[in-house]
Amino acid sequence: MSESGFGILSSGSYVPRGRLTGELVAETHGWFDPSLKSTAGTSRSFGSWDEDALTMAVEAARSCIDGADPLSRVELASTSLPYADRSNVGVLREALGLPETAGLTDSGGSLRAASSALLRALEAGQSCLIVASDCVDSKPASVGEATLGHAAAAIRVGTGTPMAILRGSASRHQDFVDHYRAAGERFSYTLEARWTRDAGYRRQTAETHAAAMAQAGIADHADRLVVSAPPALAKAIAKSLGQDDLGATLSARIGYCAAAQPLLLLRHAFEQAQAGETIALVSIGQGIDVIVLELTAPAAQNGLAAQADAGAEETNYARYLTLRRLLELEEGIRAERDNRTAQAAFWRKHEAITGFVGGRCRACGTLQFPPSRVCVECGAEDSQTPQRMSALPGTVRSFTEDWLAFTPNPPLIFGNVGFGDGANVMMEFTDVSPGELEVGMPVALRFRIKDFDHRRRFRRYFWKPAPALGGGDG
């Protein structure tokens, strides 16, 4: 069934490469808390030092809107965006090259931020790209350390040939404080899971779920169920609804990814379910959203499944801590370099930097980065047309593994990358280990943190090539 209408047009996702296993957490902290053994057999994803909720959101959005029409509205939902006052979604817009006139919303404050945003757009019949991303860290030896993952997902709703349509929904808010994280705090404060389950969500869910089913005209329950909640709670909620949680297999590999989880689960369900099936999403967070969708066309590819499988298991617990800046190693005097950003210079070049926009000379066709007033090839002046280069496939032309340069994840691997039509750019590689690169290797660009200015709490972003994955690579 594929006819024109309003609904979900596409989805995308991004899962960072790092995986922390329950075994490693239990092995490290078992002396301190033997109960951590309960997370054995699962793993969670984590972003490298150069990833945050914003960079992951950009990657998820890129995989969702590839080749799509310009978007007029974008909402970025997260509880861990890097800036409290600097439009995060605005940085995402620049990275994606969306028009300045697009309607932009940063939303947060709740683990339901994304499911509620999706519901609002679907109910209003409003075209929108909803991006959900979270990169929440957990205290060492907490249950969250082994189960709370980092990831992002995106869903585009609008008029076209939808892959899923809204059948019904129900929502309620309750100021149920089973956990909270005060503004500016890094870690959540979490209360007893049994209380959360028994006094809280099990009962609330049943009522809200029933209301959504009634609106969808479904007698019992949808064909498929996905529950956005920490693993033990998700399992209990699914059980109370008498269904399996289709998302359990995903969560076991990448963890529960906070505000990103509802959209990740929908994308996961789109990849697993058959056309014509109904999918119920239960999303919890000081209340509940239940969204019932009907899958009209299955996802074209198993992008999320591939991303979930593509992780690299971390074997060094101290490195995990260091990459997440949960452990401060002696970085040496070289790390004292002042990374203050010249904001006036950045403003002049922000499109080139954030969007990775080069210049193509109209006189000779040569592509170059950074764009400049005078063509490097033919010398023509003011002859360059802006060209986005972030989606261009690159090729490694030279590289090194630099153990002297300061980086939170030594060595600093950087080199010359060719982008065709004459373009060469010297760039820092990411998501690559020593010994993996070769001259001639294909690479794809990722939006990443370029530098931290810890003194002024500023971070700047740029693009970094990573070894290109096979199909499904965003």
């Binding site: 990374n339 490097v376 090839e377 630099d402």
Partner: protein, 402 residues
Amino acid sequence: MASGIRDRVAIIGMGCSRFGERWDSGPEDLMLEAFDEAIADAGIDKSDIEAAWLGVFFQEQSTGKSGLPLSQALKLRNVPVTRVENLCATGTEALRGAAYAVAAGACDIALAMGVEKLKDTGFGGLPERSKGAMEDLWLPNSTAPGSFAQLASAYAATHGRDMKVLKRAMAHISVKSHRNALDNPKAHLRREITEEQVLDAPMVAYPLGVLDCCGVSDGAACAIVTTPEIARRLGRKDIVAIKALQLSPSYGYELSNDGWDGSHTMTTRVAAERAYREAGIDDPANEIDLLEVHDCFSITELVLMEDLGVSEAGRAVDDVLDGRYDRDGSLPCQVDGGLKCFGHPIGASGLRMAYEIYLQLLGRAGNRQLEAPSVGLAQNLGGIPSRNVASVAIYGLADVSR
């Protein structure tokens, strides 16, 4: 077209401080150490100096900016001093200023001083620095070894050379320079090493190990220049003349265009071609008697042999392994130990190279003296392979100029 400055400028005095970790000396001490040797050599009075050029690269935690550090260190009584900086070509740039002033007839006697005080930073390696407000937004936070290491991966790919063989040739380069420096009392690193030690050394930036890297040194070197006529009037018999002094900065091509394959330094090729023309050299491999090149890293020296046209493309590996650039080879390179072992106080390096060639041409190089050389070439590469300033200077005895 202008004929250049060939044989229009003579070097009548040179001096060079001992290079190394000079915890005992500030930049003012290093400059005075080099100057005292040069002024005695020139046999002139300090008051005869009419203009001076000072080359310093890292002014931070060192000399500070401007020409004042030289004026003050030598108490040059209101003599005009110009501070120049052109990355690792800074020393040659200082000499270029002084030589041009003499060639232009603006003054009779000029001083070129290069100095670098690197060891006051409190950490190893070169000081950290901003690459520029815009560049910091996108260029990797690279180090010098990392940037030069790029040459190796690109060279191996371009010429289809096995990295193991390339590494052996690079090791040969370091072993040779260490051996040469044993005969140089002013050198920073005076210790013989073996090929195995180089190959087994801790990795700094793949494929460069720590023994593929030059020293980070304090030091100063200087030259006093005048016209050949005045030099003769001062009683000089053997006159070392500047045959060519050429500079070639990148204009952004290597950094942004794939027309450069990353395996060589484009700018050196341009500077060398111009210098050979200015000096009237047609066959550099046979007409030049010794080389002092910018061996900041072993791989740099290797590719420079091709960039200077003394090895065929892709053949420098073989020439190096055959010993061609050893002290007893047909074209000795880094007889004084080079940047590798004499040391690399950045602002001084170009003048240090000139110093060695000057000594060799005058037969004053002591235990490392070559047999009657008459033409020497000094090359600097400031910056990194993809963004640099190359200089090529040729010095020769005035009476053997053709």
